[in-house]
């Protein structure tokens, strides 16, 4: 049996069997794939901003009212969304134009994150920080591509309970973030690709920041005028955008 031909094993390695050594075919495929993805990314961003324009304006007006009353923003998320939270807080503090506003990222302090994650569980790393830091005038912005990150959801629950304005950015079909009752303004990027969702969420967060800047002068005038403050007290002290959103949510 020693002179029997060896068993062919090349079927296990079809690419090696094909002696694929010339990258030109692959490169052409990669170029086509890259262009297709760039097109998909830009289209999704454009669609999302068009569909969510009203919600973004309402969220921006409500956030501006909070900032005008001395509120602060807390941003949170995991992984790539954690870097989005960092970037959002930095954009509010050091804006390319407009007013600098108080904002913190709840993923910025790795000592706090690891202490909470290790001692009480990772599901509570944002909730515990919000319980410690937040006041009723503040704003919570949570970011999740799935809308189902347990620690982002529990952060919103803690924030809502303390009277914070809650703004969520989600993906896919919105997930629990959109379905639950803790998020006053939920902006959903409707896609099945995590990468394309993140790219559109980045545009959403920029638009959210810009709509806060646009609404801020009027919100500051409103906060300064005693007569107008009296008028708004009848509506719970919230601008029209926020109240109408809550009514819509209640109706669903």
């Amino acid at each position: 049996m020693n002179d029997a031909p060896p068993e062919p094993t090349s079927f296990l390695y079809p690419f090696i069997d094909a002696e694929e050594r010339d990258p030109e075919g692959l490169l052409a495929g990669l170029v086509a794939s890259a262009r297709q993805k760039v097109g998909a990314s830009v289209r999704l961003r454009t669609q999302t901003l068009a569909q969510c324009g009203d919600e973004l304006s309402a969220a921006g007006a409500a956030m501006a009212a909070r900032f005008a009353r001395g509120g602060r923003l807390f941003a949170f998320g995991n992984g790539g969304s954690a870097t989005d939270a960092d970037a959002l807080a930095a954009r509010f503090r050091s804006p390319p134009w407009g007013a600098a506003l108080p904002a913190s990222s709840l993923v910025a302090d790795r000592s706090v994150i690891t202490a909470l994650g290790n001692d009480v569980g990772f599901d509570l790393v944002f909730a515990r920080q919000l319980i410690a830091h937040a006041r009723a005038d503040d704003i919570a912005v949570g970011i999740s591509t799935s809308g189902g990150s347990a620690n982002v959801l529990s952060g919103f629950t803690a924030a809502h309970r303390q009277g914070l304005l809650t703004v969520g950015v989600s993906g896919y079909g919105g997930g629990s973030m959109a379905a639950g009752g803790d998020v006053a303004h939920c902006i959903v990027v409707r896609s099945e690709s995590v990468h394309r969702i993140q790219e559109a969420q980045d545009a959403v967060l920029r638009a959210l920041w810009a709509s806060v800047q646009a609404a801020l002068p009027a919100a500051r005038d409103g906060a300064r005028s005693p007569r107008r403050r009296g008028e708004r007290a009848g509506k719970g002290g919230e601008p029209a955008g926020e109240s109408s959103t809550r009514r819509r949510r209640g109706a669903r």
Binding site: E19, L26, L27, L30, A34, K37, A87, R206, A207, W209
Partner: protein, 247 residues
């Protein structure tokens, strides 16, 4: 306020730069995959916007698509002596990815050392379209557009394409460098090279890194050579110190 009323630049890039740069992006992904296949680490810097560097790291280390392999990528944070940290951590054969303006001195300082350290360099250039000489140059320059959100799309694509290359194991083996008598190549011609000084032995000699390896350099014709300086070397003799903004 309508989103369409927002000032230009508020929402970011329109994808045009990356459409045009798709071929460079594909070539960069092939090189990156080949480097990973030989054990490289991808080092990421984004001076002034280090969240991008952290995003690249998490993208490669913890893929969002189940079943894709974890690849070694690390962010080099802004702050105390980013250049010195990179010098200690980066190994020959690694890849250094910088995100930022081609005119940013912090970006340029790192990328200029690619040859001396023996690393492949990639620049995701944010800002005006590159034209004419800029402070930073790299083995692979991808212009992402005027807004830094183009960088997010660029490194997402780089990750996606790199994993496509991994599905073609025959192509992960880089072809051997071509070097013939007719065709001068950088490693065997007497062309000038940029090296980085590690230590100065005396007024005449220094030890410098060239292609990631230490070698002796004659520094008798240049003054005030210090560790960290870049030298232009020809046939073992330093001709000049490369001027840098912070020197």
């Amino acid at each position: 306020m309508k989103v369409t009323d927002l000032p230009p630049g508020a929402i970011g890039h329109d994808g045009a730069a990356l459409m045009d740069g798709a071929a460079e992006l594909a070539g960069t992904a092939l090189v990156l995959a080949r480097r990973f296949a030989t054990g490289a680490t991808l080092w990421c810097v984004a001076p002034g916007a280090s969240h991008h560097a952290r995003h690249v790291a998490v993208e490669f280390v913890h893929p969002v698509i189940v079943g894709k392999r974890s690849l070694p990528a690390m962010a080099l944070e802004d702050g105390d002596d980013q250049l010195g940290t990179a010098r200690l951590l980066v190994r020959p054969g690694d890849v250094l990815l910088a995100i930022g303006s081609a005119d940013d001195p912090a970006v340029a300082r790192l990328l200029r050392r690619g040859g001396a350290w023996g690393v492949e360099t990639i620049l995701l250039a944010v800002g005006a379209a590159p034209s004419g000489p800029s402070a930073a140059s790299a083995d692979h320059v991808l212009w992402v557009g005027g807004s830094d959100d183009g960088a997010l799309l660029a490194y997402h694509l780089l990750w996606e394409l790199t994993h496509v290359v991994f599905e073609h194991p025959g192509l992960l083996l880089a072809p051997p460098p071509e070097c013939t008598d007719d065709d001068a190549c950088i490693t065997c011609s007497d062309e000038g090279r940029v090296v980085e000084v590690r230590s100065v032995t005396d007024g005449h000699t220094a030890v410098a890194l060239a292609g990631g390896r230490p070698e002796q350099v004659d520094v008798s014709v240049v003054d005030d050579v210090a560790p960290g300086d870049l030298l232009l070397v020809h046939a073992g003799v330093a001709l000049t110190i490369v001027e840098e903004d912070d020197r």
